[in-house]
């Protein structure tokens, strides 16, 4: 596992988008700020021996040009990217701090992060909750979680309410009015991975 700042990741990516990576810490439209971020990233990576390092290149390859990737946000951001049998996990550790690590079992890592370990593969019918029911579903410790899985020609974006009790979640569907479907955690994991 290697720690990076957002500006280091942007610098290493050379402008290419990286799944799960948030914005730069300073205004990228400000020429002075951009120059500072580039200079800082280059100095820091050089000092840490990471500029051009083989292990960094290996971690970056799946992120820069993935065959498949998934992103999720549960408080902090996380992303998993796979390319030709190699996979990398990006984990947000702070507002502009990240780690990259090699990952072998993406499905397990997604399940860990999104608390989707379960054998419940149920899929309920959509229902339209009234305002009172919606407030009840969103009451703490419930969390609204979102995740995306993407491969060429196949993008799935999901948003759900996790009641925080380990039981089924409530999958949210687009539209007006909003509908929810009682969904098993294993169903969700299968959809995402």
């Amino acid at each position: 596992m290697i720690a990076f700042t957002a500006e280091e990741l942007h610098f290493l990516a050379g402008g290419a988008p990286i799944p799960g990576l948030g914005p730069l810490p300073l205004d990228a439209d400000d020429e002075g700020a951009l120059r500072l971020m580039r200079g800082t990233a280059e100095r820091s990576l050089t000092a840490r021996g990471l500029l051009g390092a083989r292990e960094v290149t290996a971690l970056f390859e799946p992120l820069i040009d993935p065959d498949w990737f998934a992103t999720a946000k549960r408080g902090t951001a996380r992303a998993w990217a796979r390319r030709q049998g190699r996979a990398t996990e990006l984990a947000q550790m702070g507002p502009t701090d990240y780690t990259l690590s090699e990952v072998t079992d993406i499905r397990a890592r997604i399940a860990d992060f999104l608390d989707l370990h379960s054998d419940d593969d149920s899929r309920g019918l959509p229902v339209t909750p009234d305002e009172q029911r919606m407030q009840a579903l969103l009451a703490p410790p419930a969390q609204v979680i979102e995740a995306t899985r993407a491969a060429p020609g196949d993008i799935v974006t999901l948003q759900w309410i996790d009641p925080g009790d380990g039981g089924p979640v409530w999958l949210l569907s687009d539209g007006d009015p909003v509908q929810v479907s009682r969904t098993g955690r294993a169903t969700l994991l299968a959809t995402l991975s």
Partner: protein, 150 residues
């Protein structure tokens, strides 16, 4: 001529403020042992064309030239007092000390105040023994991030 902008900074209970040459203020942790752990705030008047990247590069060059066994631990950017800021954790050896010193150096430029030819570069330098970095690095970082102009 305009004075340097007044500032406030938050430090843990027990730290003492003091005056020292060539800086605006120095703050000491009297509870530290083995080294006088300190956080220093200073300012330099620089040309209007001098920006933060110039400052980061120039201070790095100065540190490399003046500190033995100098090493950058990490550099990053952030915002302090609503202004872009450059942070550098660095370490170096000092004669007479068995352990290396760890230093956080934060640089920021005071907001524009109408001057056309000059501006003020503030620096916040926290220094402790490298062995104490787990304890003091978060203190230095929190103090630097609390810095504000008043």
């Amino acid at each position: 001529m305009p004075a340097f902008a007044a500032f406030e900074i938050d430090l843990p209970d027990g730290w003492a403020a003091d005056g020292a040459p060539d800086c605006l203020g120095i703050f000491i942790d009297p509870a530290a042992s083995g080294f006088r752990v300190n956080l220093l705030v200073g300012a330099d008047r620089v040309g209007a064309g001098f920006d933060l990247e110039d400052a980061a590069a120039a201070t790095l060059e100065h540190c490399r030239a003046n500190f033995a066994e100098f090493r950058i631990e990490q550099e990053k950017v952030t915002e302090i007092a609503g202004q872009p800021a450059a942070l550098r954790f660095q370490s170096f050896a000092v004669e007479g000390l068995d352990d290396r010193l760890l230093q956080l150096q934060a640089l920021l430029i005071a907001p524009p105040d109408g001057r056309e030819r000059t501006k003020d570069l503030f620096h916040i330098d926290g220094t402790c023994l490298d062995a104490d970095k787990e304890r003091y690095a978060p203190v230095f970082l929190a103090a630097a991030e609390s810095f504000r102009f008043v």
